[in-house]
Structures are given as structure tokens and as C-alpha cells.
């Protein structure tokens, strides 16, 4: 399991997130699985983890933000 996958699954195990977006608590997600999920929030989180890839540069943050914002805007939650 990669660091990104571990992070993704730990983020997705947050009880408040699960409750709010009615997520499946048992499912394991690879990054690819998550990106192809039908749950918009899971795709958003996977996109953030994959695209940001641990970078703390502000330009990268802006780029990822636009991408995730568009995804959320285009796929109403």
C-alpha cells in the first residue's frame, strides 16, 4: 500500500465524513478506485491526494484547488 493510499483510506475513515456523505465504511480504496468512485467527495479527496502529491507550493495548491472545485461544481454532491 502506498503512502497516498494509506492517507486516502485514513481520511475516508473519518466518522463525520462517513455520516455526512453516507459512505461505505468497510470499503478499501486504491487511488484509482477512488478516482473512479461514483461518490463525488471520494473523487475530490483522491484528486487532492494524487494531484497535490505532498507539494506545498502555492501554484500547485491553486492548480489542484481549481481542479477539485470544478469537479465539485460539475458533480453536485
Amino acid at each position: 500500500m502506498t503512502n497516498q493510499e494509506k492517507m486516502l483510506n485514513l481520511v475516508l475513515s473519518d466518522t463525520d465524513l462517513i455520516k455526512y456523505y453516507k459512505l461505505d465504511t468497510c470499503e478499501f480504496y486504491s487511488i484509482e478506485d477512488a478516482l473512479n468512485s461514483d461518490k463525488t467527495i471520494i473523487v475530490a479527496i483522491a484528486t487532492i491526494i494524487k494531484q497535490l502529491n505532498g507539494s506545498d507550493s502555492s501554484s500547485k495548491q491553486k492548480e489542484v484547488y481549481k481542479q477539485v472545485f470544478n469537479h465539485l461544481n460539475n458533480n453536485a454532491l
Binding site: N3, L10, D16, L17, I41, I45, L52, D56, Y65, L77
Partner: protein
């Protein structure tokens, strides 16, 4: 990273080229005090320091330096061959030569070789290879000198560092920073969109103001909570220090109090001692104490003087009487008439004859002025003169005209009175000197007690965790306040948390109200997106906290496994690793009843810290798919022989490369008195063993004759 070989050349006491091969498991390097164990360890530290190449003169072997011919070039070199994604080798070195009696260094190098191209230098250099394969983060948890460096959580930043480096999931911070940024951006867009609708604009402004005020309030409370948590953490850490050093702190306080009391007593005694004998000799007339014999002599002399005076006076009186009688008789003889005695006729008869102017002896008249009358007149004058003794004494007093004897008599009388005082003075002097001697003796005893107490204090401070006397005193004096501050702080934390919870609920209500503004409007989607980013942010925060807790839990479990192994058939207790309020972590030992073991013995404490190090190392090899060695210089100084040997045997069976420099397995030979290897015990050990020792003979006062030799004892 597995170390295969270390080569040391002309590095301090390692003259010439010296090599040691290492196993995957335990390698023991045994050496007595001063036999180069720490130097070997320092050679590795020098090699692993990739931040500098600067050559240091102190690193040059004195023997090589002494042997160096003019224009000859010497080299100091430390090299390591290891496996990490294939075989690699790095060497750090510099050359030196002597010019004009001064040693100069040059040609510093840090070169690297990699497998497949082993004969050619790596373009990245030795420092880069080391940083890649054995980075600074890991090196901090790999090399340990002595027992005191083993607590890796000693430094406040260690916890974050360990979690960041060795935990299951790394690099959360950029995602938290991103989430924060995304929330702010969507909030801005959402607000702008809401305000496009005039009906909502007023309401939006009011709710925005409420949200802003609540956020400000929340921020203040959070800030306060954070400060209190930090304070509580600091007091907790201070209390821990106190608890760890409680016995020492209390003993120091007792010792200081004893020393102070003894010094006060000493000061009182020194005030009581009046040894200003020279001053008292005159001021208090002590000088007179030797005078009684002189006074007696003085008395005697005065008595004698008086006697002499009286005798002289008597003699003078006789002499003068004789002279006068002689004169009178001589005058009579000269007149050829023998006069009658002066008393014939007597004075009354003579006066009658004069009054009657008749000599009643011959019956002739003797009128006034006649010869007969004048004769009678002279006779009576003579008689009167004889009868006047004062005139005679007056003549005698002229011999002692100054009256000195009388004055001396008076002095003698007054000195007779002082004799009594002098006897009392002698007694007083004797008492005073006796008292002073007694006090002085007591002073010496007190001084001895002060010296003993000071020595005890020095010993205590030498054994106490590198804390200064002031720090130990502070621990003692401030402990009660710290407990009070900590308890007060801990009381405030739940109250503040509850207040924060209320504000958060209030804020959530405002946010909900705010989101409702967007219902059935174009802003609705931004409300949804804003909520999504907030939820994502909170999930990342929660994941980061969970990751830390998981890491500590795993570390704790692994540490306890090692603790059991390292303390086989002995009391171990249970290691608890807790995150503290200031964001750091603490390693503590508890018994199975949940009671904290405040003052574990040094050997148990050492194994506790080593267990954590083994656990960190194991977690790292799981996380990073590579291993690194643990290198200890004299980690078991506090262990008993039996404990040490069983400890090494346990380590030999742990699947971990472990290199330990030690003076264990050396025992004094009864015949020679020299330390020899205990080969029987070494034979039982599962690991590679080397002996390092000074090559003999050598001159004990000449460093340039010192050279270490390394011999393999067990393969």
C-alpha cells in the same frame, strides 16, 4: 543499510590502515578504557557528518605525524562499505604534510562508489550516497554515545520528527495547508454570490457579522486553550523532571539546609572566639598577668630602701651629734678651761640670774651688757638650742630632700591592692583561652562536617541527569507551584473545551443559517462546495491525529516486546508513550497495576530507551523497506556483568544489525593484574567479536607511540 566493513586510517590513535568486518546481527567491539572504542565511534560520526569536509588537525594520528618525513604526505581516511539497494562504498579523507614545522592539510575528499560501477567514482559523491541511503533523520536514531543519549523524546521537536519520518503515513502538512486555502477560497466565492441577491444581502451581512464575532471568540478561546495546554505541558514536563530527580532534589535540599546550618553555627563560633590576644594584652591589661613576682620584688626593694634610708638617717644623726660634741669639746680645750656641763646651772637658774642681773655663784653684779651678763645670755641660748630637736631633724631631711621613698611607699600600697585583681585576671585569661580552644575544636568538627556535606553534594550533582544545582533547587522549591499550576490548568482545559464546543455549535448554527440563504439561489452550489471543503479539511486533521496515535500505539507495542526480551526473567514494567500537551511525547514506565514507576534503576531505564530505539528501527524497516544499524558506544555501563551478558545474547538474537562498543567480557587476570578477555563467556555469545587494544610496547607519556591494534576474537 547494512554495514559490511569500516576502514580507519591514521585517525587519531588508529595508526595505519585498520579494518573491521560486520555481521548482519550483533558485532561487539571490546576494548578497555582508553583503548580507542570511543575514537572508533567518533570516526563513524565524522564520516556520517555529510555537512562538512573540513579537516581537523586533532584527527591526525600522532604516531603518523611523528613519523612523517619532510615532503612526505600522510592521509587520514575513514571509509565504509555497506549494502543498500546494492553494494556501496564511501570514503571521507584529507591529506597532510609538514612544512616549516607546521602541519598543513589539503585535498579533502568525500567520495563514493556504487555497485556495478565499483571501480569508478560515483558522480554524486560520498556525502550524497550517505544522505540517500542513511539520511540525517535516521542517523539521529542510529548512533548513541553512552546511556544518557538514549531517550530520543528528550528534545521537544522529536515527536513531530519521528511521526513525520517513521509513522505509517507521512507528509500530512501540505494537505492541511491546501484544505485551509481551499476553504477560504470557496468561502469568498460563496459570500460574493450571496450578496448578489439584495434580499439576502442585509441578512448575509448580519450572519456574516455573527459568524465573524463567533470565529473571533472561538479563536480567542482556542488561543487560550492552546496556551493553557502548553503551560500544562511545560509544568508536566517540569514535574516529570522533578519526579525523576525527586530523591536527588530532596537530598540536595537537605544537604544545602545542613550546610547552611553548619555554616551559621561556624559563624557563631567564630564570633565567640576572641583571639585578639595582642590587643587584649594592653587593652585588658593581660600583660600584667606576669607581674606578681615583679611586684613582690618591688615590695622587697621598697622595704629594703626604707631600711637603708632609716639606717642612713640614724648614722647621719650620730655623725652630726658626734661632730657637734667634738666641736664643743675642741672649743673648751682651746680656752684651756673645762666648761661645766651645759645644764649646770639649769635653764631656770640661768634665767633667774639674767633677770636679777647678778651672778649668784660669785655674788657679783652682772648688769645688762656686761661681760658676765653676755656670758650667761650665751649659755642660756646654747641650752635652748640643744633643747630644740626640730632644728636637728631639719638638717637630717636635707639628705632625702625629694621625698621619693614616701612616693614609692604609696605606689607599693596601691600595687598591693592590684595583686588581688591580677590573680583574678590570671584565672580569666586561663578560662578565656580554654574557651577559645574548645570553640576552635568545635569549629574544626563543624568544618569537617561541612566538607563531608559539600562532598556529598558534589557526588549527588555528578550523578544527576546533567542538571545544575540551581535547576535541582528550583525543582524542589517550585514543585508545589508547578503542581498547583498544572492542576489549575487541567481544570480550565475541560471548561474551555466545553465553551469552545458551545461556540462551535453556535457557529455551526450561523453557518447553517448562512447556507440556507443560498437555498433556491445560484449560491446554493457554492454552499455545498464550501461544506465539502470544510469536511475534507476536518477529515485530514482527524486523519493526521489518528496517524500519530496509531504510530505511538504501534511504537508502544513494539517497545514493550523488546523490553520483555531485553529484561528476560526480570522486572520490566510496561512502557507507555504518551503525547503531551505541548505536542511532544514522553516515555514512561508503569507496573501492571497502572502505577507509574517513577525512578527505575539505570539498567531498566537504559533497556526501556533501547527498546524504543529497537522499535523505531523495526517500524522504519517496515515503513521504508530498508534497515539501518544501531550503533552504541558503552550503552551498558550501569549493567551488572550477568545482566550485560544476557543483554548481549538477547540482542544477538534480534534480527537487527547492532554494533556495540563495550568494555564487557574483560576480567582482571589474577597473576598479571591486566584485563584479559573472558573467552568462555564470549564463546557462548552469538555474534562477531573484536578486541581493540593499544599495541605494546608504548611510552605511557608519549602519544606518538600509541597505536591501536584490532584483532578478531570470534567470527
Amino acid at each position: 543499510m547494512i554495514i559490511r566493513e569500516v576502514t580507519i586510517e591514521n585517525f587519531r590513535c588508529y595508526y595505519g590502515k585498520n579494518s573491521i568486518d560486520f555481521n548482519d546481527g550483533l558485532t561487539l567491539v571490546i576494548g578497555d578504557n582508553g583503548d580507542g572504542k570511543t575514537t572508533f565511534f567518533e570516526a563513524l560520526e565524522w564520516l556520517f557528518n555529510t555537512s562538512t569536509l573540513s579537516p581537523e588537525l586533532r584527527l591526525i594520528s600522532q604516531k603518523k605525524r611523528a613519523e612523517l618525513a619532510p615532503s612526505e604526505i600522510g592521509t587520514v581516511k575513514v571509509g565504509i562499505t555497506f549494502e543498500h539497494d546494492g553494494k556501496k562504498k564511501v570514503e571521507k579523507s584529507f591529506d597532510f604534510e609538514i612544512k616549516n614545522d607546521e602541519i598543513i592539510t589539503f585535498n579533502s575528499k568525500f567520495i563514493g562508489f556504487e555497485e556495478g560501477d565499483f571501480d569508478r567514482l560515483s558522480s554524486t559523491g560520498g556525502g550524497n550516497i550517505l544522505d540517500r541511503c542513511f539520511d540525517a533523520a535516521i542517523r539521529k536514531y542510529s548512533l548513541f554515545k553512552g546511556e544518557k543519549q538514549l531517550n530520543v523524546f528528550n528534545k521537544p521537536e522529536a515527536m513531530n520528527y519521528l511521526v513525520r519520518t517513521f509513522s505509517n503515513i507521512r507528509d500530512f502538512d501540505p494537505y492541511l495547508s491546501f484544505s485551509e486555502y481551499a476553504c477560504e477560497e470557496t468561502q469568498k466565492i460563496y459570500r460574493k454570490t450571496i450578496r448578489l441577491n439584495d434580499r439576502n444581502a442585509v441578512k448575509e451581512r448580519r450572519i456574516s457579522a455573527d459568524i465573524k464575532a463567533s470565529k473571533r471568540e472561538l479563536h480567542e478561546k482556542m488561543k487560550r486553550l492552546d496556551a493553557i495546554m502548553k503551560e500544562v505541558g511545560e509544568y508536566d514536563s517540569k514535574i516529570n523532571d522533578y519526579e525523576r530527580n525527586q530523591a536527588a532534589s530532596e537530598t540536595l535540599n537537605h544537604l544545602n539546609s545542613r550546610i547552611e546550618s553548619l555554616k551559621n553555627e561556624q559563624a557563631k563560633i567564630s564570633i565567640k572566639i576572641k583571639e585578639d590576644y595582642s590587643t587584649r594584652l594592653l587593652d585588658e591589661e593581660w600583660i600584667l598577668c606576669g607581674f606578681p613576682s615583679i611586684l613582690e620584688e618591688f615590695d622587697e626593694k621598697i622595704s629594703n630602701g626604707n631600711k637603708v634610708k632609716r639606717r642612713i638617717e640614724q648614722e647621719e644623726r650620730i655623725k652630726q651629734g658626734r661632730q657637734r660634741a667634738f666641736d664643743e669639746i675642741s672649743a673648751s680645750i682651746a680656752k684651756k678651761v673645762l666648761p661645766l656641763p651645759i645644764t649646770i646651772p639649769d635653764k631656770d637658774t640661768m634665767q633667774e640670774l639674767l633677770d636679777d642681773e647678778i651672778c649668784k655663784v660669785c655674788g657679783r653684779k652682772a648688769p645688762k651688757g656686761s661681760d658676765a651678763y653676755n656670758f650667761m645670755q650665751r649659755k642660756i641660748d646654747e641650752l635652748n638650742r640643744v633643747e630644740q630637736p626640730k632644728e636637728k631633724e631639719h638638717k637630717l631631711e636635707e639628705i632625702f630632700a625629694n621625698n621619693f621613698m614616701k612616693e614609692l611607699d604609696q605606689v607599693k600600697m596601691s600595687l598591693n591592692f592590684d595583686k588581688e585583681n591580677l590573680n583574678q585576671l590570671n584565672l580569666r585569661i586561663e578560662e578565656d583561652i580554654h574557651f577559645n580552644n574548645k570553640m576552635r575544636l568545635e569549629g574544626v568538627k563543624i568544618k569537617e562536617n561541612i566538607v563531608i556535606a559539600e562532598e556529598d553534594k558534589m557526588k549527588l550533582l555528578a550523578q544527576t541527569d546533567n542538571l545544575s544545582e540551581q535547576e535541582l533547587e528550583n525543582l524542589f522549591h517550585n514543585m508545589r507551584n508547578w503542581y498547583r499550576f498544572k492542576v489549575d490548568g487541567e481544570k480550565q482545559i475541560p471548561m474551555l473545551k466545553s465553551e469552545i464546543e458551545k461556540i462551535e455549535k453556535k457557529l455551526a448554527g450561523y453557518n447553517e443559517e448562512y447556507d440556507k440563504l443560498a437555498s433556491n439561489s445560484s449560491a446554493n452550489i457554492y454552499a455545498i462546495i464550501n461544506t465539502a471543503f470544510n469536511k475534507i479539511k476536518n477529515s485530514f486533521i482527524s486523519a493526521k491525529n489518528t496517524n500519530t496515535q496509531n504510530f505511538l500505539k504501534q511504537l508502544e507495542e513494539k517497545s514493550n516486546e523488546y523490553l520483555k526480551k531485553l529484561n528476560f526473567e526480570d522486572f520490566t514494567g510496561v512502557i507507555h508513550i504518551k503525547e503531551n500537551y505541548s505536542g511532544g511525547a514522553e516515555i514512561r514506565l508503569y507496573d501492571n497495576q497502572g502505577q507509574r514507576v517513577h525512578d527505575p534503576n539505570t539498567a531498566l531505564e537504559t533497556t526501556m530507551f533501547m527498546s524504543v530505539l529497537f522499535a523505531i528501527s523495526e517500524l522504519t524497516s517496515i515503513r521504508r523497506d530498508n534497515d539501518y544499524p544501531l550503533i552504541f558506544d558503552a550503552p551498558t555501563s550501569s549493567f551488572s556483568d550477568a545482566k550485560e551478558i544476557s543483554f548481549f545474547n538477547v540482542i544477538a538474537n534480534v534480527e537487527k544489525q547492532c554494533i556495540i562498543f563495550t568494555k564487557s567480557f574483560l576480567k582482571a587476570d589474577r597473576k598479571t593484574g591486566k584485563n584479559e578477555l573472558d573467552l568462555d563467556e564470549i564463546d557462548k555469545l552469538n555474534g562477531k567479536v573484536y578486541r581493540i587494544a593499544k599495541k605494546r610496547p608504548f611510552d605511557s607519556r608519549d602519544l606518538s607511540t600509541i597505536e591501536m591494534e584490532i584483532s578478531q576474537i570470534k567470527n
